[in-house]
Symmetry: C2
Subunit: 149 residues, 2 copies
DNA sequence: TGGTTATAGTAAGTATAGATACTATTAATT
DNA sequence: AATTAATAGTATCTATACTTACTATAACCA
C-alpha cells in the first residue's frame, strides 16, 4: 500500500482543498474570515451568550485555539465578550450587529460552495461521501480536544 | 443546512481524528513523528536525493513548510541534506541508516492503523469512502501549494 | 555574452491546532 | 466553614500550513 492511497493522506488532501476553496471564495466575496472563524461565528449566532469553552466543545476545538479565534473576531468587530456575572470565570460571547449581518451573508456563500470542495464527484457520489463521512465521525464524537476523560 | 453537516466541517473533523490516531499510535510505538514528517520521510526513502521543492510537490505542500519539516527530521538524525553540485540552489535530501530503519518500522504501523481512522465504517464502507476520496482529489491534483500558475 | 526570467531555499509574518501549566473562580465534600 | 476538586480563560510552547518577499543560482534568449 502506498502512502498516497491511505486514509490519512487522502483526508489531509481533502482538508487542504476545502480550506483553499474557502479562502478563495471568501476573498472573492470581499470577506476576511477563516474556516474556524466562520464556525465560531456560526455557533455564537446560533447560541448567543455561550462561553468560549462551550463554543470550543460545540465545534470540536480546544479552548486555547478558540480563545485566539474569538480574539480576532472581536478585533474585527464581529463579536463582543463580557464577563458572565453568574460565573466570573466565563466570558459570554455575543455577535455584534455587524457580526450578524456578515454571518447571514457569509453563510449563504459557504453553503453555496460546498459542492465545489468535492467537485470531482457527481451529485450522487457527493451525497454518498457526506453520508459516509458523517457516519465515520458518529462514533468518535467524544474525542474532540479538551474533552474530559 | 447546518454547518455541522457541510463537507468542509466533516472533512476537518476527519482530519482531526486522523491526526489524533496518528499521534496516539506513534506515541504508543515510542516514536516522535508527525504525519507530515512521516510523509516527507516516505518520499525521501522512495526517492533518495530528491530536493526539498520536489518533496513538497510530491506530497502537496509548500516549500516553506517542508523546509521546517526537513529541519526537524535532520535534527532527529533521520535525514541529511547536501548541496547538489549540479545545481547549487538545491539540497539533495537522503535518509540516514537510522532514518531507513525507522521508516520501515513506522510504515507498518501507519499502514496498520489506517482502518482505525474510519472505525465508524464497515470494511466495505471504508473501501467506498477511500474510492470516493481519491476520485474527489483526482481533478484538483494540480492545486497544491507552490504550484506554478 | 548580457539581460531577463525562472527556480531553490530561507526569512518573516499570520493563523490554526493542540498540549501543558497557571490563575481565578466555582462547585463539591467533608 | 474549610478543604478539595473541577472548570474557564490565558500564557507558553511546538508544529503545521500557508503567503510574500528576498537571496543565490541557473536557464533562457535576443
Amino acid at each position: 500500500m502506498k502512502v498516497s492511497g491511505m486514509a490519512g493522506h487522502l483526508i489531509r488532501r481533502l482538508n487542504q482543498t476545502s480550506t483553499q476553496v474557502f479562502s478563495l471564495r471568501m476573498q472573492m466575496a470581499g470577506y476576511d474570515l477563516t474556516p474556524v472563524q466562520f464556525a465560531a461565528l456560526d455557533t455564537v449566532c446560533s447560541s448567543p451568550g455561550l462561553d468560549q469553552a462551550a463554543i470550543a466543545a460545540q465545534i470540536a476545538y480546544d479552548r486555547a485555539t478558540i480563545g485566539g479565534v474569538i480574539d480576532r473576531l472581536e478585533q474585527k468587530g464581529l463579536v463582543t465578550r463580557k464577563v458572565n456575572e453568574r460565573d466570573r470565570r466565563a466570558r459570554a460571547v455575543t455577535a455584534t450587529e455587524t457580526g450578524q449581518r456578515v454571518y447571514q451573508d457569509v453563510f449563504e456563500i459557504v453553503e453555496g460552495f460546498q459542492p465545489e470542495i468535492l467537485s470531482g464527484l457527481s451529485a450522487e457520489e457527493q451525497k454518498q461521501f457526506l453520508r459516509l463521512a458523517a457516519k465515520a465521525l458518529a462514533f468518535n464524537a467524544d474525542t474532540s480536544p479538551d474533552a474530559e476523560a
